[in-house]
Symmetry: C2
Subunit: 343 residues, 2 copies
DNA sequence: CTGTTAGCGCTTTCAT
DNA sequence: ATGAAAGCGCTAACAG
């Protein structure tokens, strides 16, 4: 055994090596390492000297085997290249880091297979909890395999619901969010009949926004609204295409409400390419209040769904559940409107 | 001991539980778990049945203690909210995920204290390797504490150099990148004397870009170039301010080369706010070829520093080093120019 | 082919 | 206050 170590090339030294060199038992070393129990100042110093001499770092894995936790959480996200998710992942990471947790990030692409793979991986017990970022996980989380893997550890889902005893939600009232945009446009003088909606994603949240649009208009006594719904692909190209379609439709609207900022920017670009002026000839609103809304020209009016606050609450909620504190539970965030040049 | 388990509330079951229920030894269970050695089809099935029955997942921590690896790598990044870093983190995560590694993400903010904290944390051995994303780590990696913590495990630095035997680089030729922008402008008819540079960040890479600008102009026989260098803060506001300063300077230039896309967008916005037309009255170029360059109006000409390729190479390099394969080593990427409306 | 046993590096009783 | 020893859950020799 000692021979084994002797011949091993530069094997990281362990608590036994430290104990031997300091002439004490490993339990004593462990004590000074963790500041537990009482240790004579002299012995402590003697051990600390050896610790410093070698820059010894206890193995987190061995500790984990005893404590049954690696102080790690995972973020199951769709794609951190999307600014809204990047922002969320950033906040979650920073907050958990402050609480001395490591954060594993997973980009599932919203695909079931990938979600399963990540979930299985996570289930092996290196992870103390998971936060699901994105309403896609509403559906993905209901998959049997995914649910089974996630079972037993605290799960928090940002903007979604999961029917598991260990899952909690931070919800955003997207229905209200869209109505904020609609009412803002009406206030700006747009007739409810002249407002259309552009839907891109197919997530649960997107459905809620769509419904929110219908309800907001219905509240204004507008009917046959479905004719005023356009569906396109997420992104600049999708937005451009939606703009084309809208301009070709029978009764040209005066305002366009979009479900996502990036698509809204595409709509604006498509509109401007035909010589239209924003907002004089056509008003456009986005959703998420992302950096995009400040970068495009004219700057985009957008619904602020408070991504950072959502992330902070997810962290608080998950952390309290990890620590067996059940006082903090699911809650809902109320969006606000950030009016800018495009409306 | 069994009593302990008996009284424990829903303790996750372990390999012993499976072995007992299947009526075999733990080593046999381990064998079917890892598809190692030969196991009689019958015993295998018998064990598999129990495995399935409980949805048993072996503890990654216990495995890690034996194998001395948690199959995890860390990304030390500045801030994943910055699209260029988000893109890099995304690619690294996806590629390592394919190779069945978990990826821990750290947002150091470019601060020394945070970098040290993350480095120490990582040094505990849960991590098989690290990739440093951003040229800030050129300086941060030279810090004694950071270097000591990272010592012993393979490190790859994207766009930087580190003087450690275990560190390897994927470099981007930023000097060339900037000269691409300068030469493009000259080709577009701008006199070298009328081109200025806007520097924002204070990283190693920023210095190289600055120098690249000086060299590119010197190649054209231009002197006293330092008068044509402007320094501002990174971001939209910084860009706007730089635009103001430039317009107030004695000899108004006809083209502005920026060290970062986002700042370039701010410059464009500042310019347009005074009624200037881009590119007719002033040409602007950015750097990174990020999504920003497509979102702003007019679309931004930008130097493509091939972030995705860089990330892919980082992964290949790090993975090969982790596996003790030393055939693959440091290398340099050549940027290209993506000409768009702003120039 | 399968079982027994010795670690992996640490924390935590339990003695002393 | 310190030491001895028993695990944590798993893999890998080594027997049989």
């Amino acid at each position: 055994m000692n021979l084994k170590r002797f011949f091993a090339r530069e094997a990281a030294l362990n608590i036994y090596d430290i104990a031997k060199e300091a002439g004490v038992a490993i339990s004593t070393v462990s004590r000074v390492l963790n500041n537990k129990d009482r240790v004579t100042p002299e012995t402590r110093e003697k051990i600390q000297a050896v610790l410093d001499k070698y820059g010894y770092k206890p193995s987190a894995i061995a500790r984990g085997l005893v404590s049954k936790t690696m102080k790690t959480v995972a973020i199951l996200s769709v794609d951190v290249r999307v600014p809204h998710y990047a922002q969320t992942a950033y906040t979650i990471e920073r907050e958990f880091s402050k609480r001395s947790y490591n954060v594993i990030v997973c980009n599932t692409g919203g695909r079931l297979e990938e979600t399963r793979r990540y979930a299985h991986n996570i289930a092996q017990g290196q992870v103390d909890g998971v936060v699901l970022v994105g309403s896609v996980f509403n559906k993905l989380g209901k998959d049997g395999e995914v649910a089974a893997a996630l079972q037993g550890m605290p799960v928090v889902i940002a903007n979604g619901r999961l029917d598991m005893p260990n899952a909690f939600s931070i919800l955003v009232d997207d229905r209200l969010g869209i109505s904020l945009a609609v009412n803002h446009l009406i206030q700006r003088g747009h007739h409810p009949e002249n407002i259309v909606y552009v839907e891109d994603l197919a997530t649960e949240s997107a459905k809620i926004k769509r419904r929110g649009f219908l309800i907001a208009l219905a509240d204004q006594g507008v009917e046959g609204v479905k004719r005023r719904m356009f569906t396109t692909a997420y992104g600049l190209a999708g937005g451009r295409q939606a703009a084309e379609e809208i301009l070709l439709s029978k009764s040209r609207p005066t305002a366009i409400v979009c479900g996502e900022d990036l698509t809204a920017v595409g709509v604006i670009k498509g509109l401007m390419a035909t010589g239209l002026r924003i907002p004089e000839d056509m008003a456009v609103t986005g959703y998420n209040n992302s950096e995009y809304s400040l970068i495009c020209s004219p700057e985009l009016t957008s619904v602020d769904n408070k991504g950072e606050m959502c992330a902070m609450l997810c962290v608080q909620l998950l952390e309290s559940r990890i620590n067996g504190n059940n006082s903090f539970s699911s809650m809902t965030i109320t969006p606000e409107l950030s009016a800018r040049e495009s409306s």
